[in-house]
């Protein structure tokens, strides 16, 4: 097995894309950076240029001006093919090769890079394991024999195959049913916890961005950057009216969903009979519980069902100030 590669940072430096014959740029003077090992979600309305901005990184779209640097090196100076083989690429329609088995699909880039057969085989099994598709059951299947969710898991495994330090994901879960989507979002976070890639994740779904993004870059029409920050900061302090509208009038609730009861300071238990919630419950769900129970406070239980503390409505509203 090859040694895992360390993640790298990505810097957009005045990155601009103009298509010939169009007045307005598709991506306009984009400047921000993505730290190594972080998931950065690019969100925005259609026509915001988020997919175009992502494709500047692996040069599926060529820069008109400005620069994109990966680990300090300009993508302009790198060989296009080499560059792409070092970047995992996942798209909404997956694009599995229908004439190849799951194992052949996953082994595509390692094969291009000239890995040994036994190395490829071991890597494929390892990756199928990682995306929770048992290799014995799945390695010989064709794409036509997989469900939508299974296909995207294979797509993810294929993108990770050569252990690229950077991953580009273009609405990878957009075509899946809500249950499968939620499951794969959680799996992505689990996998990211293991592999620590620098991920550019394009989505139009602000909730998905809040859930997955270490940071979120919001693009507005014309491919201009509206705001880039952590989900907490964007929800707490939207830069302008556009961002506020884009994240939604319920941004207070969204902020509550980012934190669990275990992460905040609670009042001491007072012995009163109150509705109860486990410590891993989000503040948003805790609020919902209080409202539906008609109670202004609830008791938080730890793993042994022992009261850990009490949460009040006043405390919640303080947290949002």
């Amino acid at each position: 097995m090859r040694a895992p590669r360390a993640a790298v940072d990505i810097v957009f430096d005045g990155a601009t894309k103009r298509y010939p014959g169009r007045q307005a740029p598709a991506v306009d003077n984009l400047t921000f950076s993505i730290a190594a090992g972080e998931i950065c979600c690019l969100v925005g309305p259609s026509g915001g240029g988020k997919t175009t901005a992502m494709k500047l990184v692996n040069r599926l779209v060529e820069l008109t001006s400005g620069d994109v640097r990966i680990d300090g090196r300009s993508v302009r100076e790198l060989d296009q093919t080499e560059l792409r083989r070092g970047i995992g690429y996942v798209i909404q329609q997956v694009g599995l090769f229908p004439h190849m088995t799951v194992a052949e699909n996953v082994g595509t880039v390692p094969r291009l890079l000239g890995w040994r057969r036994d190395e490829i085989r071991a890597r494929v099994d390892e990756l199928l394991d990682l995306v929770e598709l048992p290799a014995v059951d799945y390695r010989s299947r064709y794409a036509s024999q997989l469900s939508g969710g299974e296909r995207q898991r294979v797509g993810l495994a294929r993108a990770l195959a050569a252990d690229p330090p950077v991953m580009l994901m273009d609405e990878p879960f957009g075509a899946l049913d809500p249950i499968t989507r939620t499951r794969l979002q959680k799996e992505l976070l689990r996998i990211q916890g293991e592999v620590r890639k620098t991920i550019v994740f394009v989505t139009h779904d602000i909730d998905e961005a809040i859930l997955l993004g270490d940071r979120i870059a919001i693009l507005r029409e014309g491919g201009r950057l509206a705001q880039v920050d952590t989900p907490q900061e964007i929800l707490a302090h939207p830069a302008d009216e556009f961002v506020a509208r884009f994240v939604g009038a319920d941004r207070g609730l969204k902020r509550l969903s980012l934190t669990t009861l275990a992460e905040i300071e609670l009042d001491p238990p007072n012995g009163a009979v109150l509705p109860s919630a486990a410590a891993e419950t989000t503040l948003r769900d805790a609020l919902s519980l209080m409202l539906s129970e008609g109670s202004r406070s609830l008791v938080v239980l730890d793993g042994d069902e022992q009261p850990r503390g009490v949460l009040t409505l006043d405390r919640l509203s303080e947290l949002l100030q």
């Binding site: 599926l60 004439h99 595509t108 291009l112 036509s144 299974e150």
Partner: protein, 237 residues
């Protein structure tokens, strides 16, 4: 017709031939080695050469048309025009240049395969879904690797479908090669037409049909082996 078939008189068989019944098995058996077997082998040769040469030309043209769209129309129009010329007329056109030769026959037979092969190969090359090509590009496959590893394998079903039609129609067409050269299954048919000898006509005709069916089955079998993914059944999960 007063011409007697020149065969030894062996009672039963001779009377069958004399009465020109539909099928005289003894006569076929006696003449297998001298008439039908060589004609069948020649027929296979004519067909194989025509389909192989036609395929090479059509494949090259389709690759060019796949890469440069502008090249599609000229070749499509050329092959369509060739296709519409009646076979016998095409022989007449070619004889002054290439004589009463195998070349004349093959030029005509190859000409008829071009349209169907070109269209099917090009259609097959264009059959790769856009998201598959996008994934290939994103993973860093070069254009050449995309062609060899993705587009060509995915084109196989359409290519084999074209080969089946081209092969079967060439087997049928190759019978008229006998207008130009004394070769192929058309030869016994022409010979028998002179005195309307039913057994010979029917035997040669049936051999041509059996040859076409066999060739078609072999190609279907080849496709099954080459494209296992196409027949992979959905597994209930």
């Amino acid at each position: 017709m007063n011409q007697e078939p020149v065969i030894p008189d062996f009672g039963e068989a001779a009377s069958c031939v004399a009465e020109n019944r539909y099928f005289c098995p003894d006569w076929v058996r006696d003449n297998w080695g001298s008439v039908f077997q060589p004609a069948l082998i020649e027929h296979v040769k004519l067909t194989v050469i025509a389909v192989v040469v036609g395929f090479v030309i059509a494949f090259a043209a389709a690759l060019v048309a796949h890469r440069y769209r502008i090249a599609e129309q000229p070749f499509a129009i050329f092959s369509a025009i060739v296709y519409t010329i009646p076979g016998i007329a095409l022989f007449q056109l070619l004889v002054p240049f290439t004589g009463l030769s195998v070349l004349t026959v093959e030029v005509a037979l190859v000409g008829y395969t071009l349209l169907i092969l070109f269209r099917n190969i090009l259609e097959g090359l264009r059959a790769a879904p856009p998201e598959v090509l996008e994934a290939a590009r994103g993973m860093g496959l070069t254009r050449r690797q995309t062609l060899l590893r993705v587009e060509l394998p995915l084109a196989l079903p359409a290519i084999v479908a074209g080969l089946r039609v081209a092969t079967v129609s060439t087997i049928a067409l190759a019978t008229i090669a006998a207008f130009v050269i004394p070769e192929g299954l058309g030869q016994p048919i022409f010979a028998a037409l002179r005195n309307y000898f039913k057994t010979e006509i029917i035997t040669a005709g049936v051999l041509a049909i059996l040859l076409a069916v066999t060739a078609d089955l072999l190609l279907v079998l080849a496709q099954r082996l080459l494209t296992p993914w196409a027949s992979a059944r959905r597994i209930a999960t």
